[in-house]
Amino acid sequence: MATVQPHRVRAGRGVELGLLLLALVIGVAAYALVGIGTTDKVPPDVIGYGVGMAALAIGIHLVLRWRAPFADPVILPITVALNGIGLAMIYRIDFAYTARGREDTFAQRQLVWTAISVVLAAAVIVLLRDHRTLRRYTYTAMLAGLVLVMLPLVPGLGVLINGARIWVRVGGVGFQPAEFAKIAFAIFFAGYLVTHRDTLALAGPKVLGLQLPRPRDLGPILIVWGASVAVLVLERDLGTSLLFFGLFVAMLYLATERLSWVVIGLLLFIVGAGVAASAFSHVGARFDAWLHAFDPAVFDQSPGGSGQLVRGLFGMASGGLFGTGWGQGRPDLVPFAESDFIVASLGEELGLTGLLAILLCYAILAERGMRTAIGVRDGFGKLLAGGLAFIVALQTFVVVGGVTRIIPLTGLTTPFIAYGGSSLVANWVIVALLLRISDEARRPAPSMKPSLTPIVGTPVVGGSNEDDQPTEIMRGVR
């Protein structure tokens, strides 16, 4: 780490409260607009809905005041806003399905999952007093991650849905273990790499100017890499495999600062993807659908054609710059409009303007996570925060990039927005971990006395005096 200088920051709980209110207004207004757009009247339960959402958001806000007073003030409001927009869109798509005679209650279930997620996130913040505790569970996390990934392959547990074996069903409740495995792997990588970063970076032969690692340092990493390939081959889940692999390469790079890892990682991935595309028809079909989406033969091919992708593009195109408005479009014309293709639904009804705003929210969320990683003092925390923030960014990129045809379409859910309990819970846990680490990152260093002199004349939006006492913090700078 480079030089260190004192830096004044605010705890930011007041700012957070103000932004939370804004996020709640967005979410509840969206809910009301869906009612107006589909049935011409405000949904009768909008007050109850608003109170419930506010209770959850303010609840976790109070938990932060209690247990993590210095946590990043932007992360939570953005998460609440995205979750609210997602709920409104799922509620809206329920209407469309009902109009077509298909009774669905995705919104109700997602609302329940939201409550569970927020409570779990609060529990993580309360119970996990220091993120460094997690380092003790490095290998437990690896084991847990591997077990979770392999779970869908267990006969009787795993379920094959839409050609991918990524679901586990226990007693009527289905979940996607891979969503939780990504957190476990992030903890494992952070713990393992922080211990072995020096041997990985420095000990080993040098080939063509690239510092290669020693084979024995590679063992655990190869196990996890093997797992992600297994996911691809055995569970036919291109998206999750890409997510694990990206996380793995990014965290290796963070730990070792060696570009060689990125090069090796990309080469491995390109070879893997090439082999997979030629060896497995379902992967090859994904590439075909991506490259020749508008080819009539590819469009009509079912399953494995580009029909869904192109219909999503049609939806987005019909939204244009400003969108049709909540409840005015036809997002139900795209298969899986409530989950995999919710981005296309949002693009259609909120337009390019709305979609860009949502993407910007994700970008800010990810960058706040990165900022947390830079701010926190311990190496484990840096790796974990960086990895978790990168997961959110990469998952968004893989989904939205797939829908907008930057990369082949894979089956991943859009964090916080798409329908799906596992994904929602897992991503809220990631947010809780980021909040926990950011509290550590922004907390004044214990060795230095906090300055109690307020900065005169600095207005703070939505803040009270008590909240916004300037404090000093150690901040690592370049």
Partner: protein
């Protein structure tokens, strides 16, 4: 570890910029192409959900959308059934749209650039966007006369106002009832489409603008125009008119209708046109030359792939590569020369208008839902096809055709009609196509018309243009003059 973190943060930012760029690409730059993709049912659904503007003929809406209680919201209906089907085409949930419903779609849906300000106002006031009304140039009486005249025969009629290019009648038979195709009962609409698509004579295709026929003797108007324009011929110039014209470099010959001579040999240009003398015109074509013929034909509108009225008109063809025998056959409208019925009406209209060919059009006015006039079509000169002097000379020759030549069936008491018959040979063993093109009154033309009856219609092998097609043209002219 902060340096790689910062780099990773930059990578994340780049990823999001890429997503934003791709979203912009899809929703802005590619939006129009995607919205117009024929597989995009969403565009249709959205259009059906909005009030589509009516198509209006002489103040009456002949195609209109009325609110209905189903998932589409509006039902398109055609009040006159088959009468205007050639012009309106159809607008269907399952089968898309054709003709004016397609060509004027941006106005009818209210999505066109011209309606931008109406749309902004709808957006601000929150009112449902409504399509604009498209008012046509059609004359109901002329349209009806044309349909009645063709009655049961396959063919087409096109009537144009020579001084402006307004299309007064546009009929193609067999026609169809667009209501059957516009049904929201998907199965019924699909079945109706299948039945029409496989029916004899292809009812869904507009013969008037989409079908190319050998123009036969009506093309002699073009040959005569080229001769007059060359300055070397007058109506009184004499031409050789043998019983058989042997074509150079071949053993092929051109004969006259009925196999006889042309009354005299040599014959004047005016008489050759009057009785439609093939041998004289075959020779004239070779003398004038392929180049002059092609130039003249193109001035009348041949070889133009871009003509729209606003429906796209298929290109009439005068071929490129020609030797003398082909030129002779082309000069009498056989061989590779092909013309749409609207093309032959344009030839007459140009002669009628002193050589000035006006661009034909069918949409007079576009009016937004609040009756504000969005656009008005102004008559537009397509080309100067002939000098006024040549046009007047050719007009007088055409008057001769109706007065005492092959087109006497088109005579109207008290009105001087100028016309030209055509009897175009088609494949061996099939009856010839009967053509007639005319305009009237000859001294101050109000209408130019072209009629084709395929394969002789009800008269079969006995058919000639003068006998079968001329009476239909006469009825249409009378309908226009009576209005």
């Amino acid at each position: 570890m902060n340096t790689p973190l910062r780099r990773l943060a930059t990578v994340v930012l780049v990823m999001f910029v890429a997503l934003m760029a791709s979203a912009t690409w899809v929703q802005y730059f590619q939006a129009e192409r995607l919205n117009n993709d024929s597989r995009n049912v969403r565009t249709l659904y959205r259009e059906f959900g909005n009030a589509r503007g009516p198509i209006v003929v002489a103040g009456d809406a002949i195609a209109l959308s009325t609110p209905v209680e189903d998932s589409y919201g509006y039902q398109r209906s055609y009040t006159a059934g088959e009468l205007y089907s050639t012009v309106t085409g159809f607008y269907s949930v399952v089968n898309g749209r054709t003709e004016l419903e397609r060509a004027a779609n941006d106005d009818l849906t209210g999505r066109g650039d011209r309606l931008f300000f109406s749309r902004i106002r709808d957006l601000l006031t929150g009112s449902q966007p409504e399509g604009a009304a498209v008012e046509t140039t059609l004359l109901p009486a002329a349209q009806q006369a044309a349909l009645d005249g063709l009655a049961g025969q396959q063919g087409a009629v096109v009537a144009i106002e020579p001084s402006t290019g307004k299309i007064l009648a546009l009929v193609s038979t067999p026609g169809f009832d667009p209501n059957a195709l516009a049904s929201h009962d998907i199965a019924a609409a699909g079945a109706a489409y299948q039945q029409l698509a496989s029916a004899d004579g292809n009812p869904l295709r507009s013969n008037a603008t989409q079908e190319r026929y050998p123009p036969g003797s009506t093309f002699k108007l073009v040959t005569a125009a080229a001769a007059l324009e060359s300055g070397q011929y007058t109506p009184a110039s004499t031409l050789p008119a043998p019983v058989q014209l042997t074509l150079p470099q071949t053993t092929a010959t051109i004969g006259n209708f009925g196999g006889g001579g042309c009354g005299s040999d040599p014959i004047t240009l005016a008489d050759a046109l009057r009785i439609s003398c093939n041998t004289a015109f075959g020779q004239l074509g070779m003398d004038v030359g392929a180049e002059a013929l092609r130039t003249q034909a193109e001035r009348f509108g041949f070889n133009d792939p871009d003509l729209t009225i606003p429906m796209k008109v298929v290109e009439s063809v005068f071929p490129d590569e020609m030797n003398a025998p082909i030129t002779a056959q082309s000069a009498i409208g056989q061989r590779d020369v092909q013309a749409t019925p609207i093309q032959m009406a344009m030839v007459s209209a140009a002669i009628a208008n002193g050589g000035q060919l006006m661009t034909p059009y069918v949409v007079q006015t576009v009016r937004s839902a609040d009756l504000h006039r969005v656009s008005e079509t102004q008559p537009d000169l397509y080309s100067t096809a002939m000098s006024p002097g040549s046009a007047a000379a050719l007009r007088d020759m055409m008057v001769g055709v109706v007065d005492s030549g092959s087109g006497t069936a088109a005579k109207i008491p008290g009105v001087q009609v100028a016309g030209k018959t055509g009897t175009a040979q088609t494949a061996d063993g099939q009856a010839p196509h009967a053509w007639f093109t005319a305009f009237a009154p000859a001294d101050a033309p109000r209408v130019a018309v072209a009629v084709i009856v395929e394969h002789g219609g009800n008269a079969g092998n006995e058919a000639t243009g003068g006998r079968i097609a001329a009476p239909i043209a006469k009825a249409v002219i009378e309908a226009v003059l009576a209005s």
